[in-house]
Symmetry: C2
Subunit: 410 residues, 2 copies
């Protein structure tokens, strides 16, 4: 089974929007075990859409057409599919009723333009859109099939999950559910991770195991299973997840949609602990990333961003000779705990670069952890990358150190 993607929109060609939909669909297809050999973008142009559709259908079994389903005259996906099918468009009464009801709930009259969204090529079927006014289209063409979905990512993704993917899997003869579990890790390299679980990767065909590098979000080990039902698929994943976790231990910081921030905030909340920060090299990034996560307000006291040295000395009372040092990180963490009246104080100081500082090369970072009444612990490291990457890596590394510390106290 081969399924290609055709994204529609002149704005894509002009570079006003980057086509993220095709990549998203590509990832979904790969996970479903369906080949995708070509993605294309063409403008809102009927003849070029028709040419692209014909060419893709000649080489593949199915095409996802993304976009061009809006109400304005430049939206011609409906017309293009009808032309490829060699049929006329039919205005569907049930769609008129559905779209006008949608406008009524929003307290508005349906503009005449929106009637165009009720046109479906004869012999094709509308696909319900549960969040927008544009119905999708499922159009059989001989033994092959074209699915038209909206270009708005949220609408497209919902229609994909609820309607298109299940239909595609049925056609592919896969009467099956596909379920994934992502184990998010921090603290080792991709090759290190691969080496640790190579024997499991080699041994498996269902579930499969894949690695995804997510940059500052860490490395993800994704376990994917296919089975007749969701429950069966979960049942296949569960023992594999246990086995992989037994090998990776606390390198795994979270699963699926969890982030390092959400995991650390949860650990603190469960223990009833508040957090205070003293940031130098990260410049407020640790606080900012935590605040971007829901549920910060009952955990985070605040952060003192001491960027200039005199602020570290006067406000935070740092008297260590070198500002980038273990001693300074220790004092920063202690000051954060004390001044912000927090249960846990974290301090971070380092050199973002490009120049060295205090005789320390760019990437050098020291982290201080002041937890409860315990003495402050300090860890130093050398992080790779340019200025902004050093700040991002320092932020995640600091939160990961706190995570490991909290786990060790459990």
């Amino acid at each position: 089974m081969r399924c290609d993607v055709l994204a529609i929109g002149t704005e894509l060609l002009l570079g006003q929007i980057v086509d993220t939909n095709s990549a998203w669909i590509g990832e979904q297809l790969a996970e479903a075990g369906i080949d995708s050999f070509e993605h294309r973008q063409v403008g809102d142009n009927l003849s070029r859409m028709v040419h692209a559709l014909r060419d893709l259908l000649e080489h593949g079994d199915s095409v996802i057409v993304c976009g061009g389903l809006g109400p304005t005259p430049d939206d011609v996906t409906r017309e293009a599919i009808a032309e490829v099918m060699g049929v006329e468009l039919e205005r569907r009464d049930e769609l008129i009723e559905w779209v006008s009801a949608l406008f009524t709930t929003r307290g508005r009259e349906m503009p005449a333009n929106n009637l165009r969204q009720c046109d479906i090529p004869a012999g094709a079927e509308p696909i319900p859109n549960s969040v927008g006014t544009a119905p999708g289209i499922r159009a059989p063409i001989g033994e092959k099939v074209v699915y038209a979905v909206p270009g708005v990512p949220y609408e497209m993704q919902l229609m994909w999950r609820e309607q298109v993917l299940p239909d595609l899997l049925r056609r592919a003869g896969q009467q099956s559910a596909i379920v994934s579990r992502s184990l998010k890790t921090w603290g080792t390299s991709e090759s290190g991770l691969a080496e640790m679980i190579a024997h499991r990767v080699d041994a498996q065909s269902n579930p499969t195991i894949a690695f995804l590098a997510r940059g500052i979000e860490g490395l993800v080990v994704r376990i994917t299973a296919k089975a007749p039902t969701h429950e069966d698929a979960f049942a296949l994943i569960e023992p594999e997840e246990r086995a992989v976790r037994a090998i990776l231990g606390d390198l795994v910081f979270g699963v699926d949609d969890e982030t390092m921030e959400s995991v650390v905030l949860d650990l603190l909340r469960k223990r009833g602990l508040t957090l205070g920060l003293a940031e130098s090299v990260t410049g407020g990034l640790v606080a900012s990333r935590l605040v971007a996560t829901p549920g910060t307000s009952d955990v985070l006291k605040g952060s003192i961003v001491a960027y200039m040295t005199d602020v570290k000395r006067s406000l935070l009372g740092v008297d260590a000779e070198h500002i980038v040092s273990e001693a300074a990180a220790r004092q920063l963490a202690g000051a954060a705990r004390e001044l912000l009246r927090a249960d846990v104080g974290l301090g971070v100081t380092g050199v973002a670069g490009p120049e060295e500082q205090d005789g320390q090369p760019a990437g050098t970072v020291f982290f201080g952890l002041a937890v409860g009444d315990e003495p402050v612990e300090v860890v130093g490291t050398r992080l790779p990358g340019q200025r902004e990457m050093v700040r991002q890596f320092a932020t995640i590394t600091l939160l990961n150190l706190l995570r490991l510390k909290l786990l060790s106290m459990a």
Copy 2:
């Protein structure tokens, strides 16, 4: 002249990487007045690359092939172009010399694999790569032409600007330079901006004027001129820029690569002023965005992120009854100036949402500006959008208020 884009890489189809190169090239082509009607992505597969190249060349005049120029066996862009040309690959001595010299400067031996990067289809020409090991290729095919460029965005963009675009313009018969000037604005809506300069947009054909919405980076008015030389193009832009600036006044905060952060830091530095922040709703985002900008260290003293109310009261001495209020913003700004011993103190408090707070709806934000010995000024506003967007908009709005204040003092 029509120029399409073919991006190479199985990782694009699998959704592991989003193809931003094609959008970038599309934007460049649009700006140069060259039509681009189709973008495609295919995997590292010789026969599909050859099919795509032939199809694109049949309909257009030129194709940019992006990626597949690396040293490993799955990089087959060279082979695909040779097959479309109907010629063999030739190993070029001057490229061997050049690539091995590159490895020598890096203190390494050239791996045997890299010899593949010295292969060029007979009749084609290498394009120098000033920052990587992969030379590009310029391949004439009848009256048409294929340019192969690296997939690494930085290498691609440099090669594009230095080599490909000028060559393409020569072929298009445009013995001309295209120059743009972006005026970045903050403080009005896209329709408001369009209305203000509608008469200039309508009156112009060279230079042209376009609007680009950049979200939290503001709205951009881009003036683009074509002329035989760069100097001539600049001469066309200059009077138009003056006219647009006369209309927009200090809505324009910067040009081209300038950001709100870099502009505000420059204004402070020129006046010899230091900056201290007290952040509530932004949670460290103001500091973090400033620190991400080069040249912060002689201006930014630091930021006190007072997220919980008790920190505002104990550390910053805020005694205003309501934490989201004009009075609290005034006290935050004053405390930032005093505690961080800064010339300028900024304070920001508000409701990021989704819930209301202090009887104020989500999006309500108060800004305090404490400049020198002057009394603190306070501005209140209601910002649109969800939680994270409120924080981002609050950050830029605060910096813009400081910019206007500093300009008024000049």
